[in-house]
Symmetry: C2
């Protein structure tokens, strides 16, 4: 068939910005789009598909249309000049990779009418149906990437595992890559990444390159066991990691990782109590904004759940934020970055690794933040001002829909979960439309937003049908009624009665600040986690408020 | 080119629901998707477009690809069986119309991987780039609509101005139309709509059919002037309305509407103080949920701005909700409906008109509600449970980007506005990607979400550069510091000083509840509107809280 031109993209759009957007700027010194508009075709030649096997639906009008199509020549189809680019940016954003991240970038782009092209080897990749255009090809192949890049106003990635030498060559030719090839080179080699961040004084678990078993044993003596052994490259979702619990396990761990030939290093075991993550956005003007710190929960090394915001003291959040900010400041280029962190028992924050792109730990931002990580990435790479990264709902939980089985049985389990998610208030289901179901594959996710992480945990448990959570009302008492003595009960029980009349679930406890101070303390400190939104506290004769 | 089959859609999906979702169901009796999966092709044949005019980009690999494509036959391309439908519903949703409403339906559908096909005469209609498929054709043409309907699992509309006789015929053939053809027949004739709703006891402005000038004059005597004269059909965005201020203006008003031939009626002038709207969703199980009542502000009869929630007493909101609920209960079929209402000076709610589809007054729901009106419409028509319609942010303002000029100058004005919107915290810009700019045409919209309508109004004024709002901080004092006498000032001024240190804008007022009770009252009652979020009230020696 005829395939048409959309070349000569003029990158005339320019937009600079110096304001820090998450606070109202003290004065709105605004700069405008450059509005010289280049001609561009946006015809995607949508046609109704025909079934040659269902002749009863056959319609001469459309058949004619189809038959005309199949004989058309290039020239008959050229419509370069009949429409113009008028979205929020003239730049066509080229994305290396068309998985779920590319798909969600396309969704964010469609609001702003920004055109996204993806390069992905799979014809039915998740981003394909939503992209302005999809080039079927490998983002590992130099000629393909070069060809693709020429058609885009700016080149970005949804994976760091791309051919970085080509990106460097393209940058020399003047192609705009965001983030920069230098950043992707540092990040795609986990050892290089650690060397880089340690140079910038970012706190990290101790690490060391290993080239043979002798060196590995020495590392084991130095760092102790368990010892984490990692591949330098092509490692994600736990792939490329192996743990040796003792010196005897070193050889087999190294074998699992394919031997020393591919490049290995070891990390001192980080005794973390929580894993945290921070999405950091940087604009083309180098302004940097951080999203709220979240907790990530992994299962078999794959992200399983994200809680936003993380429930840690303010000091820890501040520290996590500072480490993330500092780490991203050391890299070049615009876009969003994910900084994965360990919180250790002694309250340290250590950097685990960085991704130079939107990230699973930021999916919740679609529903919970003023600007999603995907819109933010697009704003950043095309040069629009960054949006407000703060949360517009008090809390969010993101739950990954991972393949639990191969093929149809796997689809069945996922659909049952989604059916339950659709019954949960404040839950949004995302399905990536992957044609193949595999065990542990990321097939979609569900985001719950609501008044507190505690309430959302109860809703999630109900969705997952975890024990004791069959009934949402039972699951999440929302009002706690506490009193110092059961002598208060005759008065206080009416509060429970009236709340129950309105269908508000309650829990009633006798907790005395004088006689059971520890119980009082643990009650109060766990209330939010357990989903309590209001506490009605009845004191005795003296009207002191029970702190 | 080759055009491929995607017929034989099996509508095997079934999902019933009896729970009222906006409250936690007392027990989660869940029903699952029917998971028998029919084969379906989802290949959209994305290909990189080529520029024959830019030979420097010419690449043999891709040229080959293009050239292969143009010689391909049907059979070489048939891939019917290599992928399956696995989205949240197997039903393909067919939408008559592919404007901005269709576009936003596609955006909502993409999250859930629900396939939306649109029928629209314009090849570059806003929904085209995002739809699973776009059939280029008229939704007024019977044969076209029939052909289209056969390819969909359920048929719905983004406009009520469709060929309803064909829909009725299709329903008799067993095609699933949501909402029902009967509903669209009632709504597309505004006079019939009013007759229908008055039969159901819905409060309406008085109205009367007119067939000649004599009858019109009698109506004028009965209802008084100004008199509203309306076309029965094809009336929207103020088209089809004419106002006669006196009997002398009747003839010219009737001429403006094209004479009596097209069907006219008159309405008694409704002395409204506000226009309100309620989006109402009905599921296939007839469960009905109402979105929060909003205020709509029209300019030259076109929706200009929406404020959510509306600032009226609770009694009025309840009344508006009840009227909307009752109106939609009288119609048949699933989907979302918009109910436009008048609030009169004497506190009455009168129904203005109903739209059987997503509506401009519900665009804010994308950013401000747990379930957007577009996701809700899809859930409703495919038979998924309705989502929670309540707001997840305290307030929202939707501002329409209407064409202010023809062609490029119009684009320039719109882009300047969007550039400013991108600097506003909590603002999201939507651009519909219409290729042609016309005066008063809906080209996009901006939604602001935030802590109160007052704060958002200040931000909007800043975005619009309205007088006195050059500076956001000046525009929106967020903390009001009031005291009974200037003798309190030495103490209270430190509050202002510290807030200013943190960049929080304040206003300081001397307002005595004893000496200036009316000033106190007006201060308090206007505070929220003006964006005040916190009031620090310093009283004199007695520590009474100044109510």
């Amino acid at each position: 068939m005829a395939v048409f031109s959309s070349s000569n993209f003029e990158a005339v759009f320019s937009f600079e910005r110096s304001q820090f957007l998450s606070r109202p700027p003290s004065s709105l010194s605004l700069r405008f789009f450059s509005v010289s508009i280049a001609a561009d075709n946006r015809n995607r030649n949508h046609r109704l598909r025909h079934s040659s096997s269902s002749s009863k639906l056959y319609n001469p009008t459309f058949a004619c249309r189809a038959s005309c199509d199949s004989h058309e020549t290039d020239s008959s189809h050229r419509k370069d000049d009949d429409s113009s680019v008028h979205g929020l940016s003239k730049k066509i954003v080229g994305v290396l990779g068309g998985g779920q991240l590319g798909r969600m970038l396309c969704q964010a782009a469609s609001k702003m009418a920004i055109k996204v092209m993806v390069l992905d080897p799979s014809e039915n990749c998740p981003a394909s149906a939503l992209a302005y255009d999809h080039m079927v090809g490998s983002f590992d192949d130099s000629a393909t990437v070069e060809e693709f890049a020429k058609r885009c106003g700016v080149l970005t990635v949804e994976t760091e595992h791309v051919d970085v030498a080509t990106l460097e060559k393209l940058e020399q030719q003047g192609i705009d890559c965001e983030p920069k090839a230098s950043t992707i080179r540092i990040i795609q080699d986990k050892y290089l990444q650690k060397v880089h961040f340690s140079r910038y004084g970012i706190p990290l678990p101790e690490f060391m390159e290993i080239n043979n078993l002798e060196e590995t044993k020495r590392a084991g003596e130095l760092y102790g066991y368990p010892l984490m052994i990692k591949s330098k490259r092509l490692a994600y979702d736990g792939r490329g990691n192996a743990v040796a619990k003792s010196e005897g396990e070193l050889s087999s761990a190294i074998d699992v990782l394919g031997g020393f030939g591919h490049g290995l290093y070891v990390e001192k075991w980080a005794p973390f109590i929580k894993e945290l993550a921070v999405i950091v956005a940087r604009g083309r003007d180098n302004s940097i904004l951080c999203y709220p710190v979240v907790e990530t929960i992994h299962k078999e090394n794959i992200c399983h759940m994200v809680k936003a915001p993380v429930d840690v003291p303010w000091r820890i959040r501040k520290l996590a934020n500072d480490v993330a900010y500092k780490a991203i400041s050391s890299l070049e280029g615009a876009g969003v970055f994910a900084v994965e962190l360990f919180l250790t028992r002694d309250g340290q924050i250590l950097l685990n690794e960085v991704a130079p792109r939107p990230h699973n730990s930021g999916h919740h931002t679609i529903e919970s933040c003023y600007t999603s990580q995907f819109e933010q990435h697009l704003r950043a790479v095309v040069g629009l001002p960054l949006g407000d990264p703060s949360m517009k709902t008090p809390a969010a939980i993101m739950y990954n829909l991972l393949g639990e089985d191969e093929g149809e049985p796997g689809f069945k389990v996922a659909h049952q979960l989604i059916a339950r998610a659709l019954e949960i208030p404040g839950a949004t289901a995302h399905w990536y439309d992957k044609t193949e179901m595999r065990r542990q594959r990321k097939m979609g996710h569900v985001t719950l937003v609501g008044p507190s992480v505690g309430v959302l945990e109860a809703r999630l448990k109900s969705m997952l049908r975890e024990e004791g959570y069959e009934n949402l009302n039972e699951a999440a008492p929302r009002v706690g009624i506490v009193m110092g003595s059961d002598s208060d009960l005759p008065v206080m029980k009416d509060a429970a009665r009236i709340l129950n009349m309105f269908g508000v679930s309650t829990e009633v406890r006798i907790v005395s600040a004088h006689r059971t101070p520890e119980l009082m303390y643990s009650y109060a400190s766990s209330a939010r986690e357990r989903g309590i939104q209001v506490i009605i506290a009845g004191a005795g004769g003296a009207a002191h408020l029970p702190g």
